[in-house]
Symmetry: C2
Subunit: 305 residues, 2 copies
């Protein structure tokens, strides 16, 4: 059995490294289009479906990342739309990352693992917050063994506050995040004997960088770990930094708003929005074109390294 991170790594080799982030806030949908739906949540589902369809057809990405916070924010109906979005991604044939950043003591982490690796909210790969300690990863890694599930553990984020804990230097040497990295390498070795025929570990790392030197250092420090790379596009990270992180074991580079809000930069969409003739189909087209553009941007940056 191939585990999900291996499948994602192969999809990235085939389709390119783009991950399309479905952090779909209703405010990203033009008001005139939003108004055509029974509720903001239904408009989000329709928009997600349009984007998933275009990206899968064009093979412009290897995966989708669904940020659960935006669905929780829409309450019970939002959670139904979350479940339906996961199903639509599953049907597309691309990999599904649920960006949940859960983390809790072992018994509760077990409940989160059941929640996101089985049942209504079942996904391929989740994101995890390791702050409470490495014992809290175990319920998740058990699903990697028994069901081929994957996970990206927060290693280095790209928000300003990452200097508050992640980057702090320890008395014993190294930084806080180096401890997390060492644990990921340990897990990687453990899984190498469990999944001997596969080229990456089911446990990857979230690595966002805003400077190329950091990206280089982290890629060199963890050559065998597959990365989930946020911060490209709307968050300001350049393609070159992302490409640096794509070397060695590779990774997938997320763009959310750059794709979801692409209609705002499309003259056709803006004209139609003024006319009152803008449709979901139009903004889906803009998003689909932006995904192809992002894919090509990343591939060019990687080729130019």
């Amino acid at each position: 059995m191939k585990h999900n991170m291996q499948i994602l790594q192969e999809l990235a080799a085939a389709n390119g490294p783009l991950c399309v982030g479905l952090d779909t806030d209703p405010s990203y949908i033009p008001p005139s289009v939003l108004a055509k739906y029974d509720s903001p949540a239904q408009a989000v589902l329709a928009y997600n479906t349009e984007i998933i369809d275009r990206v899968a057809t064009a093979k412009s990405a290897c995966c989708f990342k669904v940020q659960i916070a935006y669905y929780e924010a829409m309450g019970l109906e939002g959670m139904r739309v979350y479940e339906q979005t996961l199903k639509a991604v599953k049907k597309s044939g691309l990999a599904c990352i649920s960006d949940i950043k859960r983390g809790d003591i072992a018994a509760t982490a077990g409940a989160y693992a059941r929640a996101h690796f089985s049942g209504d909210f079942e996904t391929d790969i989740i994101t995890i917050n390791p702050y409470m300690g490495f014992d809290t990863l175990k319920p998740f890694t058990e699903y990697a063994q028994k069901a081929g599930k994957g996970m990206f553990v927060l290693l280095r984020t790209s928000n300003p506050g990452m200097t508050d804990i992640e980057q702090k230097e320890l008395k014993e040497g190294g930084r806080v995040l180096d401890g997390v990295g060492a644990e990921l390498e340990r897990l990687s070795k453990e899984f190498a004997s469990f999944y001997p025929e596969q080229t990456c570990s089911p446990v990857g790392a979230v690595v966002g960088c805003t400077e190329e030197s950091d990206a280089k250092a982290l890629r060199e420090a963890y050559p065998d770990i597959f990365f989930l790379i946020p911060g490209y596009g709307a968050q300001g990270g350049a393609a070159r930094i992302a490409a640096t992180l794509l070397k060695n074991a590779g990774g997938t580079v997320n763009s959310s708003r750059g794709i979801l809000c692409a209609w705002k930069k499309s003259p056709t969409c803006l004209q139609k929005e003024q006319d009152g003739s803008l449709t979901m189909d139009d903004i889906g087209d803009a998003a689909g074109a932006a995904a192809i553009e992002a894919k090509n941007d990343l591939l060019s940056a990687f080729a130019a390294l």
Copy 2:
């Protein structure tokens, strides 16, 4: 306007410090009782309702802590039961803590704040994971200002893995958790001028201890911060350690399985389970009695300090 942490502090003074944890896994309900409901999730809701009713009537606790992981694990129906449990707590007049341990970059943290401080999943107080940095707290503290919402930030957990990051000593001096504590104190001062007439900050801390010396040191280090104290009861923390953490600004002490699974220690319930006559009412009685016992245990330990 009183903020929710102030209300909780006053409820703790009136009803005692117990927090009843509704981490209600269906496996905690006797199989013969579980079988009477349409689904495990419906049995969980019925059990929660029984417990909330008894605890509120007896005034044996100041609040309930609803651990969202167990509801997520039951999928969409679980999320409906989560929403209905929050509503039942609201109706009881006691405070409601949603144990969600969310944490993400600012825009996404904003979505989590909306999700849990408004709409279907609206609660009084949430728990937060600060790992990604202190900028990620801002969307939550804004709700403390504008809507009196409260939050407990993870400061020190009681699981073995807390030595992996939280307890690590920094090169610049102090431990990782001291940095978190300093930020909580800074926020506390900020809120003291915003809520001048109130005796605690809307931003409290999760502090679990398994040794009395640690409890003493943390209580002395942060005298003005209200604590959420896990690890009492089933997790093995003694009442004396919890009582030590209740000094100064005070706190609330959580017991989940000690109350939810109290029927397993009740001779009446065990006999009825054998007879096949055990009801939800019976296990609710056992839980209600266990809550009163826990309250008295904590008050005695505090008086004996």
